[in-house]
């Protein structure tokens, strides 16, 4: 965390994330673009203004895949991008791992990853996986099977509570994950243990694979539900960095913190609004040009 970072810094990084992910989605003929649009300010705020992290100790140019965890192969090498562990340092767990593309872009924009790192995305033999695993940059736990990270974060937070660490544990989740039973087990258990150094930022973008959440499996009212499970809940504009930062600065009185970031899947790229499928964007002819125009980019930018 750099104390000086401001809303303006976050807005700059968020715009760069959108731009980078859009160009990548065009070049790659598909991508999780709407997730980058909804999460850009939150991820930028977490990295620039909320999380207390040391400098990255991961290689700027992502490593090639060199094996899955096992005897002699330590798990979790992707966490190196979030800095050394330490009693005062925070931890970051990306739960909705299909957001990896947005996270990689964020890591690039905050200087933790080489600017060409997305060239490795979804390439055979690369660690920069489409659905990140814990060897992927910035990813500490393997949670592409959704809704498992909060429980793992709870375990990490319990261990840290025991040790007396001052650092916090942040879990970034999507709203679809509220449909999994495990989420509610973990919410209940974290409150039971009074884990006030555990915090969730939830990307409430109202979308999932099959369409709008309300049409697939309604999860509202999120704030009331989570509050009734014993958490301190804040509901904020997920594109306003100052609003996103504020809850993390408040004392939490023995309760874990849950920040509902109300977001929009086409934020910054309004031409995405009319898409039926916002979960995964693959442009049809002509659509990419509209999206580029939304970001004041040209076809030249897409090619370079």
């Amino acid at each position: 965390m750099s104390v000086q970072a401001t809303k303006a810094d976050v807005d700059r990084v968020a715009a760069a994330i959108r731009r980078r992910v859009l160009l990548h989605t065009i070049e790659n003929n598909g991508g999780y673009l709407c997730q980058a649009c909804s999460s850009a300010e939150t991820l930028a705020t977490l990295y620039l203004r909320v999380m207390h992290l040391g400098p990255s100790v991961g290689p700027l140019i992502p490593r090639e895949f060199d094996g899955v965890p096992g005897p002699g192969w330590p798990a979790g090498s992707g966490a190196a991008y979030n800095g050394e562990r330490g009693p005062d340092n925070d931890r970051f767990l990306l739960s909705c791992t299909h957001y990896s593309l947005g996270l990689y872009a964020a890591l690039i924009e905050v200087g933790r990853l080489d600017e060409h790192a997305l060239d490795h995305y979804d390439r055979d033999g690369s660690t920069v996986e489409q659905i990140g695993a814990e060897h992927s940059p910035g990813i500490e736990v393997t949670t592409g099977s959704l809704a498992q990270a909060l429980s793992i974060g709870l375990g990490i937070a319990l261990a840290r509570q025991e040790r007396g660490d001052r650092g916090r544990v942040w879990v970034y989740m999507s709203d679809g994950e509220l449909q999994e039973g495990q989420t509610w087990e973990a919410l209940s258990l974290a409150a039971h243990h009074g884990l006030d150094h555990l915090g969730v930022y939830l990307d409430a973008n109202g979308s999932q694979c099959d369409g709008p959440i309300y049409a697939v499996h309604e999860v509202e009212p999120i704030a009331e539900r989570v509050r009734s499970f014993g958490w301190k809940v804040h509901e904020v504009d997920g594109h306003d960095s100052d609003a996103l930062v504020a809850p993390a600065l408040e004392p939490s009185h023995g309760k874990p913190l849950f920040v509902i970031a109300r977001t929009c899947s086409w934020r910054g790229i309004p031409s995405l609004e009319s898409r039926a499928n916002k979960h995964y964007v693959r442009f049809r002819p002509g659509e990419a040009e509209l999206a580029l125009r939304d970001l004041r980019l040209s076809a030249e930018d897409a090619r370079s």
Binding site: N29, G30, F65, V68, P69, G70, T97, H98, D122, D124, G125, E129, Q130, I131, G132, A133, H135, T142, T143, G144, S145, L146, A147, G176, E177, Q179, E180, G181, Q208, C209, D210, I213, A215, V216, H217, N277, H279, Y280, R282
Partner: protein, 334 residues
């Protein structure tokens, strides 16, 4: 090789045709409707489409409850999310009471680009050990198109591995439950394959036969029950040994089934099991993963050479580049 037909989304149309006039059939979805090719059914029969969202554990209980009421639930999601997250629910709410629930698992084994969390490499093992469960693994478009009819009357739960997207048609005859497809007969070696490995291995078998090796090739779709006399016969005929090749761990699937059969029938032939060897995998394209984990046509030739001690001097294309090989097109929306 004659040109092989590529069928686009074979499950989508088959399920609509199968379910449309069977009023008791219900379609359950866990927020992957397009990805598991039930979007057409949802349009045609919205009243028999049950949206569960990302709630696989509850969905299995719901299927059990519906089946207890005399309805026929067909549960759809990725193979990994049928078998891992809700395993206890499948066992206790569906398999134990022997309910007629069909569990349709898509993107089996290494066919997903989604990496370790999306790769069902243990699903056959998990389902096969459940009492009452029938297990079927589709290997081509015809298997996919006929599996619904073939398993309709099973008196209990059925787990089916389904291929999606562009799927090659390797076979003309519909799938018959409990019957393997004897593609080639031979008395030197016999290769048993399942899932996408069958199409991948075909060029290797053809090349080896052209070099004069008497190699049999059997495609296995029914993993449980594993009682086809044709399988036993092919195993018994292969004097120099048996090879299994599967889109799965070598434990608990096709290779294990053959090992159990051979031991129980006292068939003392060698068995070489090809598949993932006690490892999780990682994300990548199917041809890359087949190469990386040693499951390509080239590796079949190597295995045969090691088994027979002969060299055949065969050059093969890279994995999954022959016409019958599984689709390499990129999947959308994991």
């Amino acid at each position: 090789m004659s040109a092989i037909e590529q069928v686009s989304r074979p499950y989508a149309a088959s399920f609509v045709e199968f379910a449309r006039n069977r009023r008791e059939v219900l379609c359950l979805s866990a927020d992957l409707t397009n990805s598991v090719e039930i979007d057409d059914f949802k349009k045609v029969c919205p009243d028999r489409f049950i949206s569960c969202g990302l709630s696989e554990q509850a969905m299995m209980g719901v299927a059990g409850g519906l089946a207890r009421e005399g309805l026929l639930p067909y549960v759809h999601t990725f193979a990994v999310f049928v078998t891992r997250r809700p395993y206890d629910q499948v066992a206790m709410s569906i398999a134990y009471p022997n309910l007629r629930v069909h569990l349709m698992g898509f993107l089996p084994g290494l066919t997903t680009p989604g990496g370790v969390t999306h790769q069902a490499i243990d699903d056959i093992a998990l389902m096969r050990v459940l009492p009452n469960m029938t297990v079927v693994d589709c290997g081509d478009a015809t298997d996919v198109e006929s599996v619904l009819d073939a398993t309709e009357d099973v008196d209990g739960p059925v787990y089916c591995r389904i291929l999606r997207g562009r799927v090659p048609r390797l076979f003309r005859e519909p799938l018959e439950l409990g019957r393997a497809r004897v593609l080639e007969s031979g008395d030197d070696v016999c290769l048993f394959t399942s899932s996408v490995c069958t199409g991948e291995a075909m060029p290797a078998v053809a090349a080896l036969r052209a070099k004069g090796l008497s190699i049999g090739h059997v495609h296995v779709s029914t993993l449980k029950p594993f009682t086809d006399p044709a399988v036993l016969e092919a195993v018994g005929a292969a004097r120099r040994g048996v090879i299994s090749l599967e889109n799965h761990l070598v434990t608990g699937g096709l290779g294990s089934s053959l090992a159990e059969l051979m031991a129980e029938q006292a068939i003392g032939h060698r068995l070489v099991r090809m598949g993932l060897y006690d490892t999780y995998a990682h994300g990548g394209s199917l041809p890359y993963l087949l190469e990386y984990y040693g499951l390509s046509a080239r590796h079949v030739v190597d295995a045969v050479e090691r088994l027979t001690g002969e060299r055949f001097g065969i050059e093969l294309e890279r994995a999954a580049e022959s016409e019958g090989a599984p689709s390499t097109e990129k999947a959308e929306a994991l």
